[in-house]
C-alpha cells in the first residue's frame, strides 16, 4: 500500500473487516458506510495536520498580544515610565494631605458670610468674631467633628462646643430681631 491515507484508514480493525465483507459481498449500503467513515477519517487527519502547525503560531501571537497590552497598561505602580524616572506611584494623590479640604472649598473662613444669600444672615455672620467663624466654618462647611477642630486649634473640646453654641445662639437671637 503506497497511499498513507488508505493505509492508516485500513489499519482500523473494524474498517478492514467492513471492507473485506464488502469485497466478498458488495452492497450499496456497505459502500456508502465505508465512504462515510473514510470522509470522517480524512477530515480528522486534515484537521490534525493543520493544527499541529497552526497552534504554535497562534499561541505565540496570543502571547505577543498580551505582552503588548501589559506594556501599555502596566499594573505595577513603582515601575518607571519608559522615558523618565517618574513612576505612576509618584503621581497618585496622597489622601493624608492636611490641606486637602482647603483646596476643595476655596472660601476663606474669614469671609464666611459670603456663603449666605440671605441679607440678614450675611450681616449677622459678618459680625461674628474670627474665632467663632473659624469654628462654625470647620464644623458645618468642612464637616469636621468638634474633636478634630479642638486638636487643630489646640483647645479643649468643651471650649469648641461652648463657642459653637454661643455663636449659634447669637445668630438665632439676632435673626429673630430682623
Amino acid at each position: 500500500m503506497q497511499n498513507r491515507l488508505l493505509e492508516t484508514f485500513l489499519e482500523d480493525k473494524k474498517i478492514s473487516n467492513l471492507y473485506c465483507s464488502y469485497l466478498e459481498n458488495s452492497t450499496p449500503e456497505k459502500k456508502e458506510l465505508i465512504e462515510k467513515h473514510f470522509k470522517i477519517h480524512v477530515k480528522k487527519i486534515q484537521i490534525l495536520s493543520y493544527f499541529s502547525k497552526i497552534l504554535y503560531f497562534e499561541s505565540q501571537r496570543f502571547d505577543n498580544k498580551f505582552q503588548k497590552l501589559s506594556k501599555k497598561n502596566p499594573l505595577i505602580l513603582d515601575k518607571d515610565f519608559d522615558d523618565s524616572n517618574t513612576s505612576p506611584l509618584d503621581l497618585i494623590k496622597s489622601e493624608r494631605n492636611d490641606n486637602y479640604f482647603e483646596n476643595v472649598i476655596s472660601i476663606d473662613f474669614r469671609k464666611m458670610e459670603n456663603l449666605f444669600e440671605d441679607e440678614a444672615l450675611y450681616k449677622i455672620v459678618s459680625n461674628l468674631s474670627l474665632k467663632q467663624k473659624e469654628i462654625l466654618y470647620s464644623i458645618y462647611v468642612r464637616g469636621l467633628t468638634e474633636e478634630v477642630v479642638a486638636t487643630q486649634l489646640s483647645v479643649t473640646k468643651q471650649a469648641i462646643n461652648k463657642t459653637k453654641n454661643n455663636a449659634l445662639k447669637k445668630i438665632r437671637q439676632e435673626y429673630k430681631q430682623f
Binding site: 465505508i34 484537521i47 499561541s59 502571547d63
Partner: protein
Amino acid sequence: MSELIVQRFEEEIIEMLKPKIKSVLRQTNPQNREDLEQELILMVLTAIKEKDFKQIPSFFELMEEEEKNKNYK
C-alpha cells in the same frame, strides 16, 4: 452528519489535540495559560465547523488508483 456524530467527532479531535495544546501553552506566562487554552480550543472548534479543507477523492477512487499503480509496477 447528525448532531451526535458531529459532537463525538469534535470531542475526539480535541482529545487528540490536547497534548499539542498543552505543549504549546508554554509559549505564554503561567497567568495566561488557561486563557490561551480556551482560545485555542475555541479556534479548533470553529475551524471544524467553518473551515473548508481540500476535497479529497473518495475511498474507492483512491483504491482504484492504488490498483493501477500496482499493475503498473
